[in-house]
Homo-oligomer: 236 residues x 2
């Protein structure tokens, strides 16, 4: 593990364990250098990482402060790969509706950058939170990358299998959101009435080398869907 990752974890744990609130001041860079016995650049790298993750913010000429969003039960739209971390206190389960090897549709082939005659794994499942329907999920995986899937894997965390089991590294993802009304089939699966609101989230996941391997369409039950995002200044 890299030094700056190590230090970032320790600092994150420190903030968590001491229950520091938004605005709490952390030690100055000089002190952190001494405390961890590393150079200034390494501390800065650490702080950049913590800032990206939304855990601190830095004010030039003033100091380093804790950043905390205070609402509970929201799903982060950025730390994708399942909701494990956001919804730790909730019970998440899945029901598999379909799992098979297919040829991609035109839409899928475009999003996964594949030929129409290559193979994809198609997975359709319902996810439940505390026994209530959370979402209806359809995913397509490029079979030349995700070479094998079975019911057991799919009923657990697919991302865990991809990173640990297959040893692949996830690089980045594009996420698209739309609001619309449920059609009859979706309503039936989610246990809602037709034309009720839905949030449709389409995601394309890429490996670190830029290759797309997973295209997903997730339809959320509007009653269970609260999301949040932390944005940083580099966008302004």
């Amino acid at each position: 593990m890299l030094k700056y990752q190590q230090i970032a974890e320790e600092m994150e744990r420190y903030i968590e364990d001491h229950g520091l609130k938004q605005g709490s001041k952390l030690p100055v860079i000089e002190a952190l250098m001494k405390q961890y016995g590393v150079s200034k650049s390494t501390i800065i790298k650490t702080l950049e990482l913590l800032e990206k993750k939304g855990i601190i913010f830095q004010v030039r000429g003033s100091g380093i402060f804790v950043r905390r969003q205070n609402r509970k039960g929201y799903i982060s739209l950025l730390s994708n790969q399942g909701f494990k971390k956001d919804l730790e206190d909730y019970v998440l389960t899945s029901k598999i509706i379909e799992l098979e090897v297919r040829k991609p549709t035109e839409e899928v082939s475009i999003n996964l950058n594949m030929d129409l005659n290559e193979d994809v794994y198609y997975v359709k499942r319902i996810r439940y939170i505390n026994g209530q329907t959370l979402c209806l999920e359809e995913s397509w995986y490029n079979k030349s990358i995700i070479t094998y899937l079975n019911k057991e894997i799919v009923s657990e965390s697919i991302f865990h299998y991809i990173t640990e089991g297959l040893g692949l590294k996830v690089g980045f993802s594009d996420v698209y959101l739309q609001v619309d009304k449920l059609n009859e089939e979706e309503a039936a699966f989610l246990g809602l009435e037709k034309d009720a609101p839905k949030l449709l989230v389409e995601s394309i996941f890429h490996l670190t080398n830029g290759q797309p391997f997973d295209f997903s369409k997730v339809t959320y039950n509007y009653q269970q869907s609260q999301f949040f995002i932390q944005a940083n200044s580099h966008f302004f």
Copy 2:
């Protein structure tokens, strides 16, 4: 302007002007160092910035590549402060419904970290895109920070006024999303039927020193609302 910002802008313009596609390889770091006459660290800083903005991705041992999402007409949920950049080809207008100084409600006081007897500017407006209703927006500004607003300012870009006119610096924001049904009043303002889907986006904007100055609740017309987000690997 800092060197690494300058170089980032030049590289971004180069990618744009040459219409480089996702996966196009850019020059190696060594070459960029020579080309711009700076040290390796500065180039790395440049590339980190471009990566955060979703313009490139880097693959260790391989190279630097262009990242591009291909869908048009989506609003970025991260580069907030109005949609100017995302919807360049569209005509955006506003109608002001209310503009006045008020005392905050409890909800507003919590989100802006204010006392109940301090003053806030309250702004309510409808925004249109190509003549269609895009959203209904309610905003509360801490009056001790945003000291003055009038109809003219509010009918244009409020963020432009805050950064240029008042010389304030926006640091970061927390964004919360929920899907629900329109109530009667919202439906009337947006020209939709009651109980139609809506996306409610609540945002809290902070200055670089961490002080919240703007709490906004924006209700989107579901027919006009397409959003996107680019996520990076540090979340995985």
